[in-house]
């Protein structure tokens, strides 16, 4: 019990609280209740998003059912909607982006935690994070005027000449298309994967590295045999987080992927993603069913990214738990 002299800063307990048998400051109770209310907003907003998206897509869900996901026809005039071309475009562009970004991101994360001189690590890490700071629409602008022409004149002719026997690298070079879209996506998710991987690698106890190297292992051997096995789940989490980012990324992809709802084997061909079709058509959607179909694409995107993020966070939390001891 606190001191009861007049000098005490602790006010006398109201009778009700004293009867509870605990020393509680009423201000603290209010404080706790109030802040927990604000904390609850986070959960409420997330829940409200799920409910609202579900309600907004009600008409389309009832009308098309599962056929919505496998239908290839997107025709507002006849009010017939199938989302497969968009799902295809989203999945392929995101996976391709991962193929490009993951090796580079891991390389960056390893360099910045294990190899680079300690003085260089922070500034280099900051530069990599600036990649994530550039707004999406600026990447789109850069994509239209810098990346697409470069793809058309240099990268695509080279790929066609060397790997042209594969169906993925055939057809006319346009610059715009799946390959350019995936490249922009790769640039945009790289900092996410790299920074989460850095966190995970940093969480690996130094004793393990020192132990391996003390036994005569080189840096590479210490990493391969000791650090990576320890960090594996966390790194997988980083990749899934990047995948979630890529699936939902909108503006830059919309501006460069070509926006044509075709399913083509060639990576040079234009494509269309789920986020792009929402961005392009939502304000112009006149019919109720049309709007509802677009909302359902949003709903799909919401639940897929939600699921991926839940999995990824659980994986990352297993290695690098954010609630460290004080």
């Amino acid at each position: 019990m606190g001191p009861t002299s007049d000098l005490s800063l602790i006010r006398r307990q109201p009778r009700i609280l004293r009867r509870l048998g605990r020393e509680v400051n009423p201000g603290d109770l209010v404080f706790r209740a109030l802040t927990s209310l604000f904390a609850a907003t986070v959960i409420v907003v997330l829940g409200a998003m799920a409910v609202q998206m579900w309600r907004a897509s009600g008409k389309s869900l009832a009308h098309f059912g599962l056929g919505f996901i496998v239908g290839t026809d997107w025709d507002p005039v006849r009010d017939s909607y199938g989302a497969l071309p968009f799902i295809f475009g989203t999945v392929v562009s995101s996976l391709l982006a991962l193929v490009i970004a993951v090796p580079v991101a891991f390389g960056v994360a390893i360099a910045l935690t294990e190899l680079a001189p300690v003085k260089l690590r922070a500034p280099l890490g900051f530069l990599i994070e600036l990649l994530a700071a550039v707004p999406s629409v600026v990447y789109g602008l850069w994509g239209i005027f810098a990346l697409a022409p470069f793809m058309r004149d240099h990268v695509e002719p080279f790929l066609a000449a060397t790997l042209g026997f594969l169906p993925f690298f055939q057809g006319p070079y346009q610059g715009y298309g799946m390959l350019a879209g995936a490249t922009v996506l790769a640039i945009m998710i790289l900092p996410t994967i790299a920074s989460v991987s850095r966190e995970v690698l940093r969480a690996v106890p130094d004793v393990l590295r020192e132990g391996a190297m003390g036994l005569g292992a080189t840096r590479w051997e210490a990493l391969r045999d000791v650090v990576l096995p320890f960090a594996r789940t966390g790194l997988l989490g980083a990749v899934i987080l990047g995948l979630g980012r890529a699936l939902g990324e909108t503006m830059a992809v919309t501006m460069i992927i070509g926006n044509r709802s075709e399913i083509s084997a060639s990576l040079f061909a234009p494509s269309y993603t789920m986020a792009s079709v929402i961005a392009n058509e939502f304000t112009e959607a006149t019919g109720d069913l049309y709007l509802s179909a677009l909302a359902e694409i949003g709903l799909l995107l919401f639940f897929v990214t939600l699921l991926l993020n839940v999995i990824a966070r659980l994986l990352v939390w297993r290695v690098a738990r954010p609630t460290g001891a004080r």
Partner: protein
Amino acid sequence: MIGEPGTNGDAGYRRRKITDAIFRWLCGGAVVLALVPLASVLYYVTYRGIGGVDLDFFTSLPKPVGETGGGMGNALSGTLVLVGMACLIGIPIGVLAGVFLAEFPGSRFSTVVRFSADVMSGIPSITVGIFAYAVVVLPMGRFSAIAGSIALAVIMLPTVTRTTEELLRLVPGTLREAALGLGVSKWRATLWIVLRTAAPGIITGVMLAIARVGGESAPLLFTAFNNRFWSQGIDQPIASLPVQIYTYAVSPFEDWHRQAWAAAFVLVALVLLLNVTAKVLVRNPVRGK
């Protein structure tokens, strides 16, 4: 696995050294490769954008198609209004939620909140736009600045919450205990001592959140929409820099492209300024540490 000296011999040792060198070079190369797009974007934005930035850009309205000139005064002020209102909504909620997570950790409820915030930060911004459309635009019957800022506030919320929590955790426990030991109640100790100590770091986090939402365009397309004129009030559609860049970039007009680059230059300059300032501030995230 790891070779033993004596049994493996010099050849094995040399092979291992070479593998290690290749590995180091690949990782170094990855860093360089990752920085190429950053350099290219900054170069293009500066090279093509800086010429278009003049007084008109900041003060004039856009001209109709076909006339050259005009500026983006309305889009610039629109972005300031949208981000300002988003801050008014998002920062108080986020900071207090973060205070709760840091001061009352360990309960199942706080774990769920923390997890939700982390998950929420990965939800695509365009779906946040649909959410704001369903919650604000549909009941109001029109696009509005307030709908846009609510969308941006939702995007800010998880970042501000988690940054506040992380920074309050950095405040030394002894400071807290000293206050409590003097008989100060917990809420006073938290608000007047812990929160103030962590203030520089929290401001840093808020700046990064502002930098992120300031460049968002996807959630604004069907909430704040766009407006060719000065804002007529927060219940009306409003222009913003990112949406204007998008509109101009995909148009076929040369002069609009020029202005899109100029706007991109200004936007990137603002975002980088916020990031660099935050970086400088973060050297001392917690006072006296």
